[in-house]
Amino acid sequence: MKKNLEEIKKELKDLLVESLSLEDIEPQEIGDDEPLFEEDGVGLDSLDGVEVVVMLQRNYGLDVKDMQKGKEIFQSINTLADYVVKNAGEFS
C-alpha cells in the first residue's frame, strides 16, 4: 500500500521514539525540521545514529552504508522522510 509523505513522517517519529527508547518525548512533539543530532534539537548521539541505520534497514529495506551520507540524511524528520520516499520502492 502506498503511503504519503505525511504518513511516512508520522511513522518515522513513532519508530524513532520506539527504537531509540526516547524518554519524556512523544512522537508528535518532534518537529519535522527539528535537528535530530543537536543538543538543542532531539539530542541524539553517535550510538543513536547507527541505531537509525538499523531502523531504516528493518522497516524500509534501506541500507545506509556511508555514514557521511548518513549525516545528511539524518538531519531531521524531513530529510529522513525525503530519503525514504525517494529510495524505498514500495512507497514511491
Binding site: 527504537s19 531509540l20 527508547s21 526516547l22 524518554e23 550510538l47 547507527v50 541505531e51 538499523v54 534497514q57 528493518r58
Partner: protein, 354 residues
C-alpha cells in the same frame, strides 16, 4: 580488611536495605510467580518490582539501559550518597561490579535480532549493552568517577573476588574509596533453565539449610553495593575481611547455600561446628552473587546488634539455628560459600577492628 561505610540495595522488597530489613522482621511471605514458556506452572521468583526502577533522577540519561544496569546504578548511587565519602576525589574512587550472569537478558534480546532480522540488521544498542561492564559504565558516568573500574564474573565467587580486588586497590592507595557490589537480573530464559535444572519448590520457599544433595532454589534478582575504605581502627565499622582469617570463632555462620551451586551436604560439617547458623536466601532469592546480600545482612546485624531469624526448613538436624530469641549481639559473622568442587571461601564481617 576494609571498612563498610554504607550499603545500597535493590531487592524484591524494594529499594534500600531497610526494605529487606522490614521484610525479615515480619513473617515470611512467598514470592510472586512468573509465567515461563515451556514450563507448565508459573515459576516462583523473587523479582524486583518495575516501579523500583523508575527513579528519573538517578536514572537520568539511561533511556537505553536495561534492568541490570538500572538495578546496579541505583544500588551503587544509594550506597555512595549515604557513605559520607563524597569528598573523596573522583580520580581516587574505584568501582567494582561482580556478577554471575551479567546482562544476559539483553544478550537474548540481541540474539532475537539475529534470528528475526539476520546477521546484518541487529541493534547496536542491544549489542553495546550486552557486554558485562555496561552497568559499571553507567555507574561511573552517573557518579563521575575516574578511578579504577572492573567488572568480574564467576558462577560462585564473583563477589569474593571483587572484595579481594577492592582490598588490593585500597591497600596500595590506588583508591581512597571503592564502591563494590553485585548484580543479577532474572529473565524468562534463565527462569526456564532454573526450573528444569534445579528443584524449585512450588510454595516458593527454598530450604537453604537442609544440606541436600539435590537442593532447592527459588531464583531472585537484585543489586547490592558497599561503599568501602581502608579501615580506621577507631571507627564503628563494620569491617570486612575478604578472605579467611585465622581468628576467633564467629558468633554467627551464614551459609550461602542458595541452591544453585550443586550438592549442599558439604555445608553440614561447617554447620555442626558453628555456634549459630543462618541463611537468608528465602528473603531475596537464589542468586550466583547472593553472598553479597548475605554479607549486607551480616553487616546490618553487627552494626545494629540485633539478630534476624534464619529461615531453616529442616530443623531435625543437630544444628543451632540463628533465631530472633537469642539476644546476645553478634560481633563476628562469617559468610561461607562452597562451590561444586568443594572450594570454600569465607567473608568475615567484624564489628570492631582487630
Amino acid at each position: 580488611m576494609i571498612q563498610i561505610h554504607s550499603i545500597g540495595m535493590v531487592s524484591t522488597h524494594g529499594r534500600g536495605a531497610g526494605a529487606l530489613e522490614k521484610a525479615m522482621e515480619g513473617p515470611w511471605r512467598p514470592p510472586g510467580r512468573v509465567t515461563v514458556p515451556g514450563i507448565e506452572h508459573p515459576v516462583p521468583a523473587f523479582t524486583v518490582p518495575d516501579e523500583v526502577l523508575k527513579d528519573k533522577t538517578v536514572l537520568k540519561n539511561m533511556r537505553r539501559a536495561d534492568r541490570t544496569s538500572k538495578m546496579a546504578t541505583i544500588a551503587a548511587c544509594d550506597a555512595w550518597h549515604k557513605s559520607g565519602l563524597e569528598n573523596v576525589s573522583p580520580d581516587r574512587t574505584g568501582v567494582l561490579v561482580a556478577t554471575g550472569l551479567g546482562p544476559h537478558v539483553r544478550t537474548f534480546k540481541f540474539l532475537n535480532g539475529i534470528l528475526d532480522f539476520g546477521d546484518a540488521s541487529v541493534s547496536p544498542t542491544d549489542f553495546s549493552h550486552s557486554v558485562h561492564n555496561a552497568a559499571a559504565g553507567y555507574i561511573t558516568t552517573r557518579l563521575r568517577t575516574h578511578g579504577p573500574v572492573q567488572t568480574l564474573t564467576d558462577f560462585d565467587f564473583a563477589f569474593n573476588h571483587a572484595l579481594t580486588v577492592a582490598e588490593c586497590m585500597l591497600a596500595r592507595r590506588r583508591c581512597d574509596a571503592v564502591l563494590a557490589g553485585a548484580v543479577e537480573e532474572l529473565g524468562e530464559v534463565m527462569l526456564h533453565v532454573c526450573s528444569r535444572m534445579a528443584d524449585v519448590p512450588a510454595d516458593g520457599r527454598p530450604s537453604p539449610v537442609a544440606f541436600s544433595d539435590n537442593p532447592s532454589a527459588v531464583p531472585g534478582e537484585g543489586a547490592v553495593f558497599f561503599a568501602l575504605t581502608r579501615p580506621d581502627e577507631n571507627a564503628e565499622g563494620p569491617f570486612i575481611t575478604a578472605v579467611n582469617a585465622a581468628g576467633p570463632e564467629p558468633d554467627i555462620t551464614i551459609l550461602d547455600a542458595e541452591g544453585l551451586s550443586g550438592p549442599e551436604s558439604g555445608y553440614l560439617p561447617v554447620a555442626s561446628a558453628s555456634a549459630s547458623v543462618a541463611n537468608y536466601t528465602p528473603f531475596f532469592g537464589s542468586m550466583m552473587t547472593g553472598n553479597a546480600f548475605q554479607c549486607a545482612i551480616a553487616a546490618m546485624m553487627v552494626r545494629s546488634g540485633r539478630r534476624f531469624a534464619s529461615q531453616p526448613n529442616a530443623g531435625e538436624r543437630d544444628i543451632k539455628h540463628c533465631g530472633k530469641g537469642y539476644q546476645k549481639a553478634a560481633e563476628t559473622i562469617d559468610c561461607i560459600k562452597l562451590d561444586k568442587e568443594g572450594h570454600k571461601r569465607t567473608i568475615r564481617i567484624d564489628k570492631t577492628y582487630r
